[in-house]
Symmetry: C2
Subunit: 276 residues, 2 copies
């Protein structure tokens, strides 16, 4: 528990970047993407798979450079959207190029390179997308992720009896999972009520929906990271802050809540346009 609270405190300075938004947040996310993809590929190396790290870094650089266009004018830049698709094409081709050293490379080397780019770089980029398109709503990403994590921990401690998925993560309980979802819903509801009323007259419903989906998907993100680590034979992705794991251990839920928040808000805005 001490570890959990301490690692929570370590995240606090990062919230400054959320508050600053714009270029600062983009830079922070870019740094997280670079460190994250490095940790992810190092994990693969522990199981004898050798992804090509320069492709991961170059992919992050290109995607976050595209993100700079968004910052200048999020809604006047529809014309650059195909560049995102070009990015997907380029990443896939680059990962396949890895395989051309046919005697030194296995198919897994190329596939792990690709998976790392999508899982770490593409997913994390949605923080920038939410910030560019929906401003203050970017806080929902961390509220739902950390709200779920903390509330799942405490309700698991208090009521936990039935194991959730002992083979993947032996300590998690169904009670903790439900508590996490409820915690995420309450936090997002409150945030929407106080800060998103300008967006929509149904802001609270929006908060509730995002809180519910976020509570589920952030646990899914947590478990996905556990699965990768189990197969890689590691306990933590890294040792960025001694005793508190790597950057991916801290952001495994955010990787999934960020896209969820973006697409829910984007579809919501398409159906009943925001009034901001």
């Amino acid at each position: 528990m001490k570890t959990r609270i301490l690692s929570g405190l370590i995240m606090l300075p990062l919230l400054v970047f959320l508050w600053l938004g714009g270029k600062w947040l983009l830079l922070a996310c870019f740094a997280v993407a670079l460190m994250g993809v490095r940790e992810f590929y190092n994990g693969f190396r522990k199981m004898g798979v050798s992804p090509c790290a320069p492709i991961g870094y170059a992919a992050a650089f290109c995607l976050y450079t595209l993100g700079l266009f968004l910052l200048s004018s999020p809604t006047g830049t529809e014309y650059i959207y195909p560049l995102y698709m070009l990015w997907f094409f380029g990443v896939t081709v680059a990962s396949l190029l890895v395989l051309f050293k046919i005697e030194k490379r296995t198919l897994s080397d190329g596939m792990a390179t690709l998976t790392g780019v999508f899982y770490v770089v593409f997913f994390s980029f949605h923080v920038v997308l939410v910030d560019s398109f929906f401003g203050i709503a970017v806080w929902l990403i961390v509220l739902t992720a950390f709200g779920t994590d903390i509330m799942a921990y405490f309700s698991g401690m208090a009521f936990g009896k039935h194991k959730l998925c002992p083979k993947i993560s032996p300590k998690k309980t169904i009670e903790g999972s439900v508590g996490g979802i409820l915690g995420s819903m309450v936090l997002c509801l409150l945030f929407a009520h106080f800060f998103l009323a300008d967006f929509s007259d149904k802001a609270m419903l929006m908060g509730l929906v995002i809180g519910l989906l976020g509570g589920i998907i952030s646990q899914f993100g947590d478990l996905t990271a556990s699965i990768f680590k189990r197969h890689m034979g590691i306990k933590d992705y890294g040792n960025l802050i001694p005793g508190h794991g790597g950057i991916l251990d801290r952001f495994d839920s955010v990787l999934f809540t960020a896209p969820m928040v973006f697409y829910v808000l984007w579809i919501w805005n398409l159906i009943c346009p925001f009034g901001w």
Copy 2:
């Protein structure tokens, strides 16, 4: 050679779909994507990896359904572009879900699922994109792919001395490769001159650029397929037409020339707008 000419003839009926365009071409590409992803996953099974085929089929269905929007109005539908990104997110999450049966699944099962969707489904979809946005220019995709293939074969036969990459594909020669690129350039140049003059006053330069890039990338596509098949321990992806391999053996180059043609035309149009 008989095989090569016969398999060329077998492709002819498919050209009808190119000529019809629109919904018919979309349906034909959808069918190729489904059969292609099936063959690709079957190849993985030969090496003990078990991708999740239903995810591949569902991904193809969703992407080609999105393609229907494009057909109705290619340029008035920028607002749906984020749905493509949602598709990328959904495909990645679904492929990661595969891993939740932690005792039965290896990381490769999920990564191969993902790779198949990007390599076969996403790449092939660019035929629909080119058809929707650039109409008749869709012919460039097959002209450069089959032009390279046929001219590489004949110039390799006539002048071939120096091996290109004996470890991947023992029969290919540098002379054949250069001949293929030249053949592709000539074909695309002629096509641009006769059919694309309305697009741009620099149509012939455009044909030359696409012919050059297409000649390179279609051989890259051919070699990529060879690398996959070598690792999978198979000679052909399938046996769709006895003695002529599977659908992926026929379309391995098109998978790469289609995105190339789309992005070159799209960037070209962005820099000096087409006059059509």
